[in-house]
């Protein structure tokens, strides 16, 4: 049977195959757990001396990227699809640049509260984009949760403790989300 015989159902089948593939590719639990743990580590660093938090995040991000890449290769080999392609690598490299630029601009204008809020919005928006691409309700919930938690903390926590508390709260949210995703992933 040719696609031309019933273009509407053909387009529906094509979209279904693409969605099934995206669902197989989409294993968010591992990066969520890693970044949740890294964020908890950042909270500890910020509590000790907040000026080292930026350096800590650069190192932690690089380590998380390498770990996720290694995991993606192993998982792709196991389930027979995907792998982090060059487009994915470019996105991973572009993300911290966006975060740094947004944090610097907002930090200059609004101090610590501006910096934390900008980072929360960038991370939350990124999760919402991933949610849209992967059709993941969990990532959408996490994206909104990150933005809301950051906004509430920026409003009520004093500036001296805000970075540590925000990292602690976001780390807990990501870790909980990652562990939940791990439990519902057919191919962890």
């Amino acid at each position: 049977m040719n696609a031309i015989d019933d273009p509407v159902s053909t387009l529906t089948e094509v979209e279904r195959a693409r969605a099934r593939t995206r669902a197989s590719l989409n294993s968010v639990w591992y990066p969520l757990v890693l970044f949740g743990a890294a964020s908890l580590g950042a909270a500890a660093v910020a509590a000790l001396d907040v000026k080292w938090t930026g350096v800590y995040w650069l190192l932690a991000y690089g380590a998380c990227f390498l770990a996720v890449r290694r995991y993606a290769v192993a998982r792709a080999s196991r389930i027979g699809v995907g792998e982090l392609d060059s487009r994915g690598v470019r996105l991973w490299l572009a993300f911290p640049l966006v975060l740094i630029v947004a944090g610097t601009v907002a930090g200059t204008a609004g101090g610590v509260r501006g910096l934390v809020m900008a980072n929360g919005v960038v991370v939350g928006a990124w999760y919402l984009l991933v949610a849209r691409w992967a059709g993941s309700a969990l990532m959408a919930v996490l994206g909104i949760a990150v933005i809301l938690v950051t906004a509430v903390l920026a409003a009520v926590i004093d500036a001296d403790n805000l970075i540590a508390v925000a990292n602690l709260a976001i780390g807990a949210v990501l870790l909980a989300g990652g562990l939940y995703a791990r439990g519902s992933d057919e191919n962890p």
């Binding site: 049977m1 696609a3 387009l11 195959a17 995206r22 027979g80 699809v81």
Partner: protein
């Protein structure tokens, strides 16, 4: 203006082959088992359609050994991705024209 059907590619507009390219549009590569399971095909059926796509230059097939296990990986070529995009466009135009 030409009718949308003139834009359809004989190789790609067959449903199974379109399904294979749909999977490969999302993933950098997929193995034979993943394609077979995702598209609910038999080994023979999938092999036949992969051969047609490979002959047309739409996919690249590589057979490797991972440990002692043979494995067939398939990836879409630039030509295959372009043909898939054109096919979707033509199908959408067809739906719009008769919608």
């Amino acid at each position: 203006m030409s009718h949308p059907t003139t834009e359809l590619d004989d190789v790609v507009h067959q449903r199974v082959r379109l399904g294979i390219l749909a999977v490969l549009a999302e993933a950098s590569r997929a193995d034979f088992n993943f394609l077979r399971t995702t598209l609910s095909l038999t080994d023979g059926n999938l092999s036949r359609h992969l051969q047609v796509l490979e002959d047309a230059g739409c996919v690249e097939i590589s057979k490797v050994f991972e440990g002692k296990r043979p494995r067939t990986w398939v990836k879409a070529t630039k030509r295959g991705r372009a043909a898939f995009a054109r096919e979707l466009e033509a199908l959408r135009a067809l739906v719009d024209a008769h919608g």
